[in-house]
Amino acid sequence: MIEKATWGYDGNLEPLYEVEEREDEFLVTFDLPRVRREDVEVNTTKDTVEVVARMSRAICWEHWGSVQRKITFQAFRKRIRLPEQVEPEKASAIFKNGILQINLPKARRKVVVPIT
């Protein structure tokens, strides 16, 4: 099987990302070089998080990989399916030095079991 390319002819690149599972939340980060905070859009549902981020300056490569023609990318786009449900309205995000960090609290929080 050929691994799926991380770019599209629509001018979008797939960003590098990482999903870290913590006790009560998922911490999702995206690497978004050439992007400013005001050009980032984050959408979440109960089980997905989607990021669309426009670059401040498009990147153009003259001889791109197997295509061997000029290709330009203006944005990053990626939708991730989360391993379990979250509370989208309680999500928060910060953007610093090209890294977007999204905190997504889990829908099912831990319950303390009484010990008798």
Binding site: L16, E18, P33, G98, Q101
Partner: protein
Amino acid sequence: MSFFLIAMKKMEELVRVVEEEGEGYKGEGYKNPIVVAGLPDVGLVGTIAVSYIVEKLEMRTEKEKCREIGYIESDLFPPVMVIHEGRLKSPFRIYGNESVVVVLSEAAVPPNAVYPLTRALADWFKRIGARLVIPITGLPVAKRIEISKPEVFAVGNSEEAVRWLKEKQVEVLEEGFIAGSYALMLRECGKRRTNAISLLAQCFPVYPDPGAAASAIESLEQFLNLGIDVGELLEKGEEIKLKARDLMRQTALSAPEMQKGVEQDIPIMYR
């Protein structure tokens, strides 16, 4: 020949360092060079750092100029070649002049190739009379987003190497595990009595980190004194990150098999 000897012979041949004769190649004329290695690892710190060093040294005057002097081949490597300016090249290449040798790779090292690769390189470093081997890599930190200038730590493979580090006031890693090609390169060089020092810059684990590479180059200056200004590396950081996405992705995929997670563990004999 016994089965054991045949097996050993085959192991030796798994990875070959091939020296190319070309314009300006000085053959056996190395003057106890310092070797700098940057194989893909966390944050691609070594790869970014050595690629920048080569780019800068290629522009130097005739005496200091760094040229492509060889490559590394192995049946264990992926069947991949790279094309630059219409020329076919191995992704595992060696650059250098008589006093500096640089080893770099544009493809992730398959985990099953790490042992034979580091052995073959350590043998070759010994053969060219390297006086010091410096693998550059990253030290993943959880709060990298909050660090504006990554710190650099080091590991030496001998008493002498550790003494040099202390003299240069480079912070030495005192406890913990290290994993990956640089860890084995330190050991294999040590077995051949070649001094080696690994420089580890704080970095993002799975994102290319030009800032960490810049810190590593600044630290390297204490040993090599190449006079490389990292300003352009930092200025072009975002472009480098864009170009390095796919190599970072390939490298991150092999991280579990490289036991990179062990680097976060505490050794049982921790003091």
